[in-house]
Amino acid sequence: MSSISHKPKTILIVDDDLTNRLVLRALLTEAGFHTVEVENGEQAVQAVEEQHIDIVLMDVMMPVMDGYQAAKIIKSRQSRFVPIIFLTAMTDESALAKCIEAGGDDFLTKPYNHVILASKIDSMLRISSLYQNIEEKNKEIQESHFLIQQEMNVSKKLFDKIIRNDMRGKETGLNYSMSPMSMFNGDLIIAEKNQTDGLNILVGDFTGHGLSAAIGAIPVTDVFNSMTQKCFEFTEMLVEANEKLIDLLPTQMFMAAAMISIDRSNNIISVINSGLPDIYLYRDKKIIRTFKSGNIPLGISGLSASQLEVEMETLQFGDRLYVATDGVMEATNESGAMYGLDRLLQVFDGNNDSDCLFDSILQDVSDFCDGAAQTDDITLLEFCHLEKVEYKKGIEYSNQYREPSDWSFQFSLDIASLRQFEILPYIMQGVNQLQPLEYGRTSIYTVLTELFTNALDHGVLKLDSSMKSTPQGYMDYYQEKQKRLESMSEGHIQITLSHELSKDGKGGRLSLGIIDSGEGFDHGATDLVNKNQFSGRGLKLISSLCTEMKVLGKGNSVMAYYDWSSEN
């Protein structure tokens, strides 16, 4: 009869009548059960608490505590399933219903038919064993859920530490809202100051969401931070991040991204949109430029910087840029409708106060969804081009004081190396290793960049700087530069850097010389400082940043000197 387990099951018999107990015991013992007998409800409650009881056979009418009350107590106190079968002489329906209501699982009417009794016990034991199985599985699930939760919490902390670099603020012009669908965000925003004092911003959206989507954010952040720190061009960073992601991500995963670089020396914004929705530039209450995706998302196929479609626009102070991931357009309400582009554009159209536009968009999306469960990570970014910026946090350089020393090095680059190789970050790294300068770093980098760009653009590539006098001209200039760089067959640039210890030994003079193969210019006749807005600014900037500057020879050689002292 008991096919469930080989171990004899224990059955509690609760009846105030001795004869009834003896009859039941005889029946059950013969069937292979172990029995425990008590005389009333109170004793039954106690027995269930003290011993392992598999099934309770409960009489209804008993002194001290009746069967209904005992059943209620047992059911409320036991977390495991203890089946209770009521034994009753009553046959009226309401009494039987009361048995079930009190927590009984079945009932049996006296006098007992031993076949029915046996099959009821058997069926209860089967249910009981199912319950037990479920309970064990539940416990396992709870335990592993707890472990997963703990691991997630730890990972989340590590993850946030790696990804964290929040450049948001009224002083930086950057604002964004990220609303991940789960604990880990498959959307990514990284921003860092570049050498023009503007920002490089990367907005990324990995396929899917959750941990698997978020994991790719780590190498991308790593590339972005280390390359910004080393002053690489933002196009190079995108190429490098792409390579990393191709290596790392499985075929079906990729990152739609936009790389935005704000050049504050020229007030130019450059955007590379690789698979994100349209990016809007907003001025005087109108969208004045849409940057559409023109590139494959990252992590799919290899590409070089020259294959990237870079779009540029001149910026005016107060201009605002809006970037959203597809989670915004595809935000879904209860009835399954998507927010969509039209609604977004209506918010732009209906807006009267630029300061509120960002919040209005978020509010409109949230109103539309009206509490419906989020189906993707939602990210919205706003960048406002401010007249004056201030950054609390910047790249943290591991600056280590080195005793001033004398050194020099020189690079000579022919046209092929100029085409293929971004030399400046390496030179800056060399300088930083030899002579870390706490305050002069940005100035030196700017001077070096300006001199190098002048030598390349005007000396080697013979570009006319007057082209840059209009915003459109600036774009043409940039394109022409790429074209000439690809096709030019001769030309070279020589860069010399040297450092000379000052007499008191507490500082020194850094000398920076650049000679190009070009024809130079009549520097005697050129008023270096007073040229128009779009050209000649380079030399003006250099003079203001370094201690002294000289144009030599026929105008194809420039020397700049930067004096420093550790006492400053």
Binding site: F254, G275, I300, D326, E330
Partner: protein
């Protein structure tokens, strides 16, 4: 089933047709549909005429199909898609990876 595949008699092309939403829920079915198909130097045609929505995981699945096709020196062509789907494919610049028409 919302995915069906038919191979041409000359074994030069196979057409995969997707009905309804093309999203992560079709991941296994989509993969299964072409897994055992071998088309040396042929063409996989993905017919999107019955597809009303396509998300980024669907783009990922198309990349997997491309990988499968390229291992057999075949290519992938996406056909009969709506304007909405064209927009999604264009944003991802998939015209640079697949032939679209």
């Amino acid at each position: 089933m919302s995915i069906s595949i038919s191979t041409s008699e000359d074994n030069k092309s196979a057409t995969i047709k997707i009905n309804g939403r093309f999203d992560f829920s079709l991941h296994n079915d989509f993969r299964k549909s072409y897994k055992d198909v071998s088309l040396p130097s042929g063409q996989y045609i993905v017919d999107l005429s019955g597809t009303d929505y396509l998300d980024s995981s669907a783009l990922g699945m198309l990349l997997l199909l491309k990988e499968h096709a390229e291992s057999q020196s075949s290519n992938v062509r996406l056909v009969n898609f709506s304007e909405d789907i064209r927009e999604i494919l264009t944003i991802a610049s998939f015209d640079k990876l697949f032939s679209l028409d």
